[in-house]
């Protein structure tokens, strides 16, 4: 410490001061004098990150993306995005002599004839599945803890766009090898596009450069997959992380955690070491999975041919909800009007899925409007302390999960010995009724947990010790909750339904009425946090205040 002080006091007047630091200091100084990077290091290096496992989920997504970039770059060295026809002559016997596209043939070569190719393909694909899954879990954490509230609404939107882009990346990648599975997937997309009224057929011809499948689509998807989409994703990730730095990280409610501070470790050195190490751990897990488990065995699927479709043809998990939505539509949803067929079975799916996606994306603004809450929030909500939000989330998860499950209806039917129709009808019911049921159950569970918290704060934990007071009364001694725990239990914001107030013209508009109605729906049922007065009163007349000594006397008095 002393050396640092002397250096600071000495300033940079002498050249001889360099000697004290050795090579690292010299190098650092060299860079700093040319880039002024010390300002950034000082700012970022002292950035505080709170420590909680759920705060690492976004990092998992980021690291998976890095793994995808690395393995994907390897694959681009060997993959040829062409649909020209060749006869396969590689090492895999059951496809020898079969005509296929160059795209498929080069993917086969990557899998069988290029050293490390199959491992890289599997790393790329498994990491992609993990990428979207980690984003999904990260998003659930953000939602259920209310981390999307002011000032982070825009970052929620950016993150959600990243989620959509990740799905687009996944789907374009899934379609590149031009095997049977990817061709079947594209055929479904083609059908979806063609089902859009008026513009459908034209759009499909535009996408595929003519009649499906054509010879253009793989090249086009390749440009999107390796150029446009990754570029947008990288830019948005940069913005997403920049916002995290600007907003500072949120933290869970605990003693000492306030809206004005962040409690945790500084980036340098602890957090950087942890996070850097964590990257290698994620990489290791992906590598382990990729080296032990097959993913997308294109050699089984064979080249794309519009006639065969394999049993168990599904999209990757993240597109499953859309596939499932189509499976759940009852048969016969088509109308003929003015000599044109309108495929409601497709239009309804597009509308419902589209509405769901947009609702999730703008949810922070909807909630802010309903609650009228304009404050900044840096301390997270415990899910139970926002019962209506948690209930909406549970409903959304149930809805999504039903659609998602429907994508595997055939696998469920064979593996659980059920009828396909039974599975579909059950999932139709859970898609429509499940969310409603989940809403009420989740809300009641939240309120019950809040009541339990209240009980604990006011009366402490039951200790099981029965004491007889001098007057002859029997009471149970309650163990009071400690200060730290109490902070967590009582410090949450309490909302009341908004009052309907006339605007400047003295009128109450319909929008205000809707808002007031929604606000009532949001906050009608609520458990208010324990106030200091309540706490004092509870402790004043309750045996939880009995200390051990008083206790002893109470017993001896008997």
């Amino acid at each position: 410490m002393t050396t640092v002080n002397t250096r600071e006091s000495a300033g940079d007047q002498t050249v001889g001061a360099k000697k004290t630091g050795g090579f690292t200091a010299t190098a650092a100084n060299y860079i700093d004098e040319r880039t002024s990077i010390s300002g950034a290091v000082k700012e970022l290096g002292r950035k505080i990150f709170p420590d909680h496992w759920s705060f690492l989920l976004g990092e998992v997504a980021l690291y998976s993306f890095v793994i995808i970039l690395l393995s994907g770059s390897f694959l681009t060295f060997f993959f040829q995005a062409s649909m020209a026809e060749v006869v396969y002559d590689g090492s895999y016997a059951p496809l020898k002599g079969i005509p296929m596209s160059v795209a498929m043939s080069s993917t086969m070569d990557i899998s069988f004839d290029i050293r490390g190719g199959l491992l890289m393909r599997q790393v790329h694909h498994w990491a992609a599945l993990l990428f979207v899954a980690a984003i999904g879990l990260h998003m659930l954490r953000i939602y259920f803890t209310g981390a999307f509230r002011k000032p982070r609404e825009l970052n929620w939107v950016i993150g959600f766009i990243l989620f959509i882009l990740a799905m687009a990346e996944g789907f374009t990648g899934y379609s590149l090898p031009d095997d049977l599975l990817s061709g079947n997937g594209l055929r479904i997309i083609d059908g979806l596009v063609k089902g859009i009224p008026v513009i459908g057929t034209w759009t499909s011809f535009l996408l595929f450069g003519g009649e499906f499948p054509g010879t253009d689509i793989v090249g086009r998807l390749y440009s999107l997959h390796i150029l446009l989409l990754p570029a947008i994703i990288v830019a948005l990730i940069a913005m997403h992380l920049l916002f995290v730095v600007v907003h500072k990280h949120t933290q869970y409610p605990a003693a000492g955690h306030t809206n004005q501070n962040v409690v945790g470790y500084p980036v340098l050195p602890v957090y950087a070491a942890k996070a850097g190490g964590f990257f290698f751990i994620v990489f290791g897990v992906v590598m382990l999975i990729a080296s032990l488990f097959t993913i997308n065995p294109i050699w089984n699927y064979g080249p794309y041919d519009p006639s065969p479709v394999s049993a168990g043809t599904q999209p990757d998990w993240y597109i499953g909800f859309a596939d499932g939505a189509m499976r759940l539509i009852p048969p016969g949803w088509e109308v003929v009007w003015l000599n044109h067929t309108y495929s409601l079975n497709i239009v309804v799916v597009l509308a419902v899925v589209g509405l769901f996606i947009v609702t999730v994306m703008v949810y922070p603004f909807i909630e802010a409007w309903i609650t009228g809450d304009k404050r900044e929030h840096h301390v997270l909500d415990r899910p139970r302390n926002a019962p209506t939000r948690t209930a909406i989330g549970a409903a959304g998860v149930t809805f999504y999960a039903s659609l998602w499950a429907a994508a595997s209806s055939d696998i469920m039917a064979t593996h659980f010995h059920l009828t396909m129709e039974g599975v579909i009808h059950t999932l139709q019911a859970t898609t429509l009724l499940g969310p409603i049921l989940a809403f009420f159950i989740a809300k009641r569970v939240c309120l019950a947990l809040q009541k339990k918290d209240r009980e604990i704060v006011l009366h402490g934990y039951e200790s099981g010790r029965i004491v007889r007071l001098p007057g002859g009364e029997f009471v149970e001694v309650h163990q009071p909750v400690d200060e730290y725990e109490r902070w967590k239990l009582v410090s949450y914001s309490d909302f009341k339904p908004l009052m309907l107030r006339p605007n400047a013209q003295g009128k109450i508009g319909p929008a205000e009425k809707v808002r007031a109605g929604l606000s009532r729906w949001f906050f009608e049922d609520r458990i208010t946090p324990v106030t200091q007065t309540e706490l004092n009163r509870a402790h004043g007349d309750h045996p939880s205040a009995i200390t051990d000594q008083e206790h002893q006397s109470a017993i001896t008095d008997k």
Binding site: W53, P94, V282, T294, P297, N300, A311
Partner: protein, 271 residues
């Protein structure tokens, strides 16, 4: 309706181009043709089953049939409300159904399930001989049609993808059908049973006759299925070859599960 029929019957030469007996004649010709083809086929493969068709074996088969099968299929295999007629199903059908344990059926259901085989191979041969003696039908295939080593896996794989994969999945992992029926996984099924399934169309499977898929093509399909069975997936464990559902389930439960466990470990407070 009756009036129209009457007018037609009265003036056949004016209203229709065909003679009223033309369709009857056509059916008769067709029947003669197929009957002849069947007869020719059964005689050509009868060489392999000479032993099985001796009168003694047939008599033994009849006894076994009466004791084990007649309850549902009728005493002379004519069928009942509980089971179909077996006249003309051929030895191949019996060998497949009984040889894979599907018959005798454990219980009525969407389809007969595979289970441990209930009879010895001699008994199965006797039953097959008895049913084959009732009327001509597909015979048990000759050994040279079942030699997986002689076939072309690439041709078999392509035929399998086109004809079989929509129900059985590209890797033969099986798949769902309607009303609780399903196409079973074709793993550890003998070449003979695969061949017999193709020519007899058991349960909900269609018949792939020799005009549709030639015996050599059938052998190629067997070659492919045996290739898949004998060569483990080059990518590691195949997760049941079920496709993206198995992969998605795996990454959520084991992949993300492991990652979450590691995040908990990394952020755990030291004691």
């Amino acid at each position: 309706m009756t009036t129209i029929k009457k007018t037609r019957a009265h003036r056949p030469s004016k209203t229709g181009r065909r003679h009223p007996l033309a369709s009857v004649a056509l059916i008769a010709i067709g029947l003669l043709f197929t009957g002849g083809a069947y007869a020719a086929f059964s005689t050509s493969t009868a060489v392999a089953t000479t032993d099985a068709s001796s009168q003694q074996t047939i008599a033994e088969g009849e006894k076994l049939f009466a004791a084990n099968c007649a309850t549902c299929h009728g005493l002379s295999a004519q069928g009942s409300t509980e089971g179909p007629s077996l006249i003309g199903v051929g030895a191949a059908s019996v060998d497949f159904q009984v040889g894979t344990g599907r018959m005798p059926m454990q219980m009525q259901g969407p389809q007969a399930q595979k289970k441990p085989v209930q009879f010895t191979s001699e008994q199965i041969a006797a039953l097959a001989a008895y049913v084959a003696s009732l009327a001509p039908g597909p015979a048990i295939p000759a050994a040279e049609l079942l030699d997986a080593a002689a076939g072309d896996a690439a041709n078999g794989a392509e035929l399998f993808r086109i004809n079989c994969a929509m129900c059985h999945n590209v890797a033969g992992a099986g798949g769902a059908l309607t009303e609780g029926k399903f196409a079973p996984a074709i793993e550890n099924v003998s070449a003979q049973h695969i061949y017999e399934a193709m020519i007899t169309g058991p349960q909900n499977m269609p018949v792939f006759n020799d005009m549709n898929i030639t015996p050599e093509d059938k052998r190629d399909i067997i070659t492919y299925l045996k290739y898949v069975e004998d060569n483990p997936s080059p990518g590691g464990l195949a997760l049941g070859s079920l496709g993206p559902v198995a992969e998605g389930l795996f990454i959520w439960i084991f992949g993300l599960g492991a990652i979450v466990a590691l995040t908990v470990w990394i952020t755990a407070k030291s004691n």
